[in-house]
Each structure stands twice: as structure tokens, then as C-alpha cells.
Amino acid sequence: MNRRFSNRLYEFLVGLLFGWGLLIAGMTDPGKVIGFLDLAGLWDPSLGFVMGGAIAVGLFAFGLARKRTTNLLGGALHLPTASQIDRPLVIGSLLFGAGWGIAGFCPGPAIVSMASGQPKALVFVLAMVCGMMIFEGIERLKRRDSVSA
């Protein structure tokens, strides 16, 4: 098996595992997500358990990754380098949170739910991709303006 193929197989399997995790956790049910976000109504704390379980494992792995300059196979380690807490970070996250609260979908669960055959999840994912393309379009305009200025 060549290296490139085994790498793609690995990414496929991690994506599969991630999708299973979302389904088992109940994240693909927007009613469950909104049940967590609805503090003033009937509150479903499940999502807190999802985050707790994920971060408990994550702390160990990222603690290990942080001490390294390569991944465990000796390849590149692409960890984020930005550290600035700036306006795009906060405004973007607020907009994301508003959309999350409206439909109960965040990107991962929406993609998995689309694959389960939910028509509304398909519409959500198409709109989400449009939102991402609008972002890229605006970024491109900004870059062009800054070059010509």
C-alpha cells in the first residue's frame, strides 16, 4: 500500500470515527443542541457531557503534541500560530453562535445529518458553504484593495 493511499485512508477513518461520535453523542439532533442552549426552558445538559468527554481525551493528546515539533510519525505538526484576541475572532464567533442557536446545527453535525438524508440539513450545509464563499470573496476584495492602495 503506498504512502499517499494509506494517508487518505487514515483521514477517511478519522472522519468516520468523528461522525460516529457526533451521532452517538446526540449532536446530530438540533433539538438536543437547542435543549442545551435553552437555559430558561426544559434544559438538557447532555452537550456538557459531550464537551467534557471530548476535552478529557483532548487534554492528554494536545498536552503531548505541545511538547513536540513533529507529529508522532515524524511529519509536520500544523498547530495554529495566531494568539491575538481580535475583533474578527469575537464577531465571527458571535455570528456563528447566533446561527447555531437558530437552527441547532454546527458544521460537523450538519454534514453528518445531511448524509442521514435530512433535507433541512442539506439546505443548511448549502447555505453554510455559501456563507464561507462570501467570506472568501470579501477577503479577496480586501486583499485587492490593499494591494492597489
Binding site: L16, W20, G31, A54, I85, S93, A98, I102, M128, M132
Partner: protein, 145 residues
């Protein structure tokens, strides 16, 4: 505050969460990348040659998750879902989530799981921001309108 005992699933959610953490761990330790869905999908839209195939492989893995889980696990995990929002609101929400996650450089997976696990102050601010906006939005929709 009243707990919704009918929908509360502590063990399944904890177990699912552990799988999400495990996938994120495997990805950073052996692939060297942050497992963030908005970044993986958004990056695909502007990917240079050679940077697209790993993103596609990962997303295809996610897409086959429901059908494969249905073969090995009880059907409760693929049970009925509750989507209250109208199609119009679903479109508005999708646009906000797509634009917002790219502007804010991440979503629940990249900032919420990986970022908090990395103890990144940036991800903590992002997570608190989208959680706060989520709580506020649901409050307005369910209890004001």
C-alpha cells in the same frame, strides 16, 4: 432551571464525546492537524493542489458515518431528529454559521474541543462568544418572540 430528563442522555453523550476527543487526538498526533470541521471544509473551497485530497477523504468519512453506524449500533443513535426551524431560518442560520466560523477561525470542534484542549486563550474567547450568542439567541426565539 428544570432538567429535561426525557431527553437527557449522559452516558451516550459522554461516550460520543470521548470518540470526538479520540478522533481529535488521532488527528493531531498522527496527522499533525487540528480537527476543525469549518476549517477542513472552508479550506477545501480555496485549496491549492495537494491540499484538497486529505480534506475530501476526511469529509467522505463523515458522510458514510450514518450508514455504517446503522450496521453496527442500535438504531437509537439514528433516531428521529427534531428540527424546529423553518427552511427560511435554516438558510439564515447556515449563512451565519458559514461566514461566522470562517471569520472567527473555527467552530465547536476546532475552538471548542481542540482549542480548549490546547488551553488556547483565543479558543476560550471564541468558545465563550459562540456559547453566549447561542444561549442568547435561543432565549430570544423561545421566550421573547
Amino acid at each position: 432551571m428544570t432538567i429535561d430528563w426525557n431527553h437527557f442522555t449522559p452516558w451516550a453523550s459522554l461516550g460520543g464525546g470521548v470518540l470526538l476527543g479520540l478522533a481529535s487526538a488521532l488527528f493531531v498526533l498522527f496527522n499533525g492537524r487540528i480537527l476543525g470541521i469549518s476549517g477542513i471544509l472552508g479550506g477545501l473551497l480555496v485549496a491549492k493542489p495537494g491540499d484538497a485530497s486529505w480534506r475530501l477523504a476526511f469529509l467522505i468519512g463523515m458522510l458514510v458515518a450514518p450508514v455504517t453506524l446503522g450496521l453496527v449500533a442500535p438504531s437509537q443513535f439514528l433516531g428521529p431528529v427534531r428540527i424546529e426551524a423553518s427552511y427560511l431560518l435554516v438558510v439564515v442560520a447556515g449563512l451565519l454559521v458559514g461566514y461566522g466560523t470562517r471569520l472567527g477561525s473555527g467552530c465547536t470542534s476546532g475552538h471548542g474541543v481542540c482549542g480548549l484542549s490546547r488551553l488556547s486563550p483565543r479558543s476560550l474567547v471564541a468558545t465563550l462568544s459562540f456559547m453566549a450568542a447561542g444561549f442568547a439567541t435561543v432565549y430570544v426565539i423561545r421566550h421573547w418572540l
